[in-house]
Symmetry: C2
Subunit: 292 residues, 2 copies
């Protein structure tokens, strides 16, 4: 297992972590500069942040700073009702692949979607099995395109509390079943993003990480699970402030040969997004060394 | 599949559903009277409510009304740090079995516990595997006692969002693994409580209900998953107000021979606990017929 205690060589910042500073939106360009100043070698930006800054601007800036992208957030949201909505999702996912390619990301992270309409508060149906079949079909189709431009797709199993509205792939086992069906040769074109927040509770986690193996372990995301958790989406904790045994999970990943970045992804309306970006980033660095 | 549309013969009220009326605690005796007035044939009371009313009083009242207990809530909370705390949990669980026996409950529901201290906001350790091993040992020991007084134990897999603080048994598969280890003969002494709120998301749900079979399917709890859900514990929805396809899950249960009560268990600080108990109960009856 790699020693993280001496530096932050293997730290990546998911830019959602500092989406806000003192409650105010931070432009992606400012986030990139702040990361570069700290010698952070990798980030994982969100599409809306990239779009606001301009893809060309972001592309130039990360090359200028020699920044890597541990991933690109995000594609997915495949399930839909009606041919037009399905086609819109397909087209948007291809654009996400293109952007990830332009930014030279390690992978495009897929938050696969769930019951259409649920995220807006009104599910159009209750058939989660059907949503899952649309996810499978959507990934299958996108995979052909992603392979053609050599952009790996990382299915991110989301915590089951998001099964209704964000992602109906909710365990590593389920994600790997899709991988095994669509990429039986373990080509490296399809794998998983392992976010400890989503999977730490799973009694089969270690076994499924072993099943995945190096070729499918495309990304590793960290934050922490707080007790109590006061919001289903935006109350993630800083590493070390919650109950997740992060080093144990990282050890399981690295035992399979994972050697990539540990990407900090924290959504925190009430705490970290209220602090100054500098404090949040400096805390990420310190906790990366001490508790990841 | 049984026809629920004509009557509420197979409805049970978990008394937490009407724990409060217009925001004020309701004595269990009043809940029992209100249920009896409506021809409800079964309830599932909580230990704190029974203790407040007096076990003898409750026992007499339910016999007088001919009420059944679809379950008794609850035993569990096995993990602990230190011999004294483990013994206290063991002793308390034996008392729960005795109370369930006195009330002639169908089963004692087990919410098995998780990381000690987490429910109070400060986990004493992060070793969920150790907590799970204490749960296994705690159930094994309690099972001997429960068998001696013929009180079935129903492990309730709780939604993974409760893995830190309430229950580290989080899937049907995991619960049934414990059942298979401790009760290989499917004696009926050990099984599961299937609460749709906790398990609806699970891609293996149907397969695990089939695996369980009639002898292990001891209870069936219903409510609904709201989008959005604003609180991890106390924002459960009334059946029909959320995204769970309840009849489909009930169909899977009944295909295995489950013929027990459909128990309504809703924790709802902001909505149902603010309404009048009569309205909440009448709505449970209507929704039981229309959407369960």
């Amino acid at each position: 297992m790699r020693d993280f205690s001496q530096d932050h060589r293997w730290l990546s910042i998911n830019t959602a972590t500092v989406r806000k500073s003192r409650g105010v939106d931070v432009p992606l360009v400012d986030i990139i500069e702040a990361c570069a100043q700290r010698g952070i070698r990798a980030i994982s930006p969100w599409r809306d942040q990239v779009a606001a800054a301009g893809l060309d601007v972001v592309s130039k800036l990360i090359r200028q700073h020699g920044l890597e992208l541990s991933g690109y957030c995000r594609g997915g949201m495949f399930p839909a009702v009606g041919a037009d909505a399905l086609k819109a999702a397909r087209d948007d996912n291809r654009r996400a692949v293109d952007e990830a390619r332009e930014l030279n990301a390690k992978c495009l992270v897929l938050v696969v979607g769930a019951l259409p309409g649920a995220l807006a508060g009104k599910a159009l149906h209750k058939d989660i099995a059907h949503a899952r079949s649309q996810v499978r079909d959507g990934i299958a189709e996108l995979l052909d395109y992603a392979k053609s431009v050599q952009m790996p797709l990382a299915i991110e199993p989301l915590h089951p509390m998001y099964a209704a509205d964000r992602a109906c792939v909710n365990t590593m086992e389920q994600a790997l079943d899709v991988c095994d069906e669509l990429d039986p040769s373990h080509s490296g074109a399809l794998g998983v993003a392992v976010d400890v927040y989503h999977v730490w509770w799973d009694p089969k986690l270690q076994a499924q990480i072993e099943r995945a193996g190096q070729s499918r372990l495309l990304a590793f995301h960290v934050c922490d699970w707080l007790t109590p958790t006061t919001d289903l989406l935006n109350d993630r904790g800083m590493m070390g402030d919650g109950v997740i045994d992060i080093p144990r999970i990282r050890d399981w990943m690295e035992a399979q040969g994972f050697a990539g970045y540990s990407e900090v992804e924290i959504f925190s309306t009430g705490n970290w997004w209220q602090r100054d970006m500098a404090e949040t980033l400096d805390t990420c660095l310190a906790r990366h060394r001490a508790t990841v």
